[in-house]
C-alpha cells in the first residue's frame, strides 16, 4: 500500500491574471501538516482553493497520490480524498446542524448515520442546538458544527481555511487534538491560522507565502 502524498511543483496562484505568489514547491508526506503563513491578501485562501480544485493555478501542478486502493481500476482523485472547510461554514440557516451535516457528508460521497452525527455534535458540546435552525446559533457554535465534519469524515486530505476563527479556547484545543490525531494516523493537512495552533505530535511545516 502506498502512503498518501501531496506534491506541489512550481505553483503560481492568483486572482484573474495577477499572481499573488509564484513558484511554490512543497511535498507533504503522510503524517505531515503545513501551516500557511502570510499577511492579509498574500494568497492563503487562494492557495487552499487552488489545491482543492475550485480555481485553476496560473502555472505549476498539484499531484495527489492516494493511499486508498481503487476497486474498479479508476484512479482515485484528490476530490475523492478531500475534506475542505472554507471561510464560510457551508451551513444553511434554515436547516439544523444535523440536516446540514447529513447533506455535506453525502456530497463528499460518505454516508454517515444520523446517530453518529448527533453523537459527534454532542461531543462538541452542541447537543442542545443539534436540532435547532443554524441561523439561531452563535458564530462559534456554527463554526463548531461546520468543523464536526472533521470527526465524521475519513478523508485523508484536509484543507482548512482559518478553522479556529470564532472558536473559544476549549474548542480550539479540541480542534488541535483532532488535527493532531489525524496527522498521527497518516493524514495530510494544509491549514491557515492567524493564531498558533498547538499541535504536539505531528510535524507542522510552516510555509511562508512571499508576495511577488
Amino acid at each position: 500500500m502506498t502512503l498518501p502524498r501531496l506534491v506541489i511543483r512550481n505553483l503560481s496562484c492568483g486572482r484573474g491574471e495577477r499572481a499573488l505568489f509564484r513558484d511554490l514547491d512543497m511535498t507533504l508526506e503522510a503524517g505531515e501538516a503545513a501551516r500557511i503563513l502570510g499577511e492579509n491578501g498574500s494568497g492563503k485562501t487562494t492557495l487552499l482553493r487552488t489545491l482543492g480544485g475550485l480555481q485553476s493555478p496560473l502555472a505549476g501542478d498539484i499531484e495527489w497520490q492516494s493511499a486508498t486502493p481503487s476497486d474498479d481500476g479508476e484512479p482515485i482523485l484528490l476530490q475523492d480524498d478531500l475534506c475542505f472547510i472554507g471561510h464560510e461554514n457551508a451551513l444553511n440557516g434554515a436547516l439544523t446542524p444535523v440536516e446540514n451535516l447529513d447533506v455535506l457528508m453525502r456530497l463528499s460521497a460518505r454516508r454517515v448515520t444520523e446517530k453518529r452525527i448527533v453523537e459527534t455534535l454532542t461531543d462538541l458540546g452542541l447537543k442542545r442546538v443539534a436540532r435547532r435552525p443554524c441561523e439561531r446559533l452563535s458564530a462559534g457554535q456554527k463554526r463548531r458544527a461546520s468543523l464536526a465534519r472533521l470527526w465524521l469524515t475519513d478523508a485523508p486530505l484536509w484543507l482548512l481555511d482559518e478553522p479556529a476563527s470564532a472558536l473559544d479556547v476549549d474548542a480550539r484545543g479540541v480542534l488541535c487534538a483532532r488535527i493532531d490525531s489525524h496527522v498521527s494516523a497518516g493524514g495530510v493537512v494544509v491549514f491557515t491560522t492567524h493564531e498558533e495552533l498547538a499541535i504536539a505530535n505531528g510535524s507542522v511545516r510552516r510555509v511562508e507565502l512571499a508576495p511577488c
Binding site: L54, S56, F84, E88, A90, E99, V103, R106, L107
Partner: protein, 222 residues
Amino acid sequence: MLSVFWAVLRRDLLLAFRQRGVLVHHLLFFVLVVALFPLGTGADAAVLVTVSPALIWMAVLLAALLSLQRLFRPDYEDGTLEQYVLSPEPLALIALAKVVAYWLASGLVFVLASPLLVLLLGVPAHAVPVIMASLLLGTPTLGLVGAIGTALTLSLPRAGLLLSLLIFPLYVPVLIFGAGAMRAAISGLPSAGALYLLGALLALGITTAPFAIAAALKISLE
C-alpha cells in the same frame, strides 16, 4: 451516485417547506399580475380571452425571473456551493436536483394555480387541460434555462437586470409554443403539435442544461 441527487432534492424541498413564505410571495405575484391585467384593458371579455395565453405566459416568465434569483444565491453566500463543486459526485447531477426541487416548489405551483386564473379571464373550460399541459411542459424548461443564467451571474452583485437580459431571449421558443398551444386550444384547433415541441424542448433542456449549469457554477466560483 443517485443518492446525492435524492439528498440534494430532499434538502431543497425541506428548505422550500421551511421558507414557504417565499413561495406564497411568488404565487401571489403570479396571481396579482394576471388579476391586475383586466383592470387595464377594461371588461371586454373577448379581448381578455384573446390575450390570455400571452398574459399567463408573461406572468409565469416574470414570476420565474423573480424566484430564480434565490436558486443558487443562498448556497453561494454560505459556502455550500463550494462543497457542491468540490464533491466527487457529478456537479451536473447536483445542479439537476436543485432545478427539479426548484420547479416542484415554484413551477408546479403555478401549473396548479393556472386553471383558476384562466377561468377568471373567461377562457372556455375545454381549453383548460391543454393550458395546464403546456405549462407543465414549459415551466421546467424555463427553470433549466434560467438556472444557467442564474449560475452565470452569481458572482455579480446586482444580477437581476442582467439575468433578465440574458435569459429572456432564450425563453422565446417556450413562449411561442406555450402560448401557441393555448391559443389553439381556446379556438378549438388541434394543439398537439405545439405540445410535442414543448416536450422536445424539455427533453433537450434536461439532457444538456445540467452540464451548462455545472460549467457556469464553476466559472462563478473561480
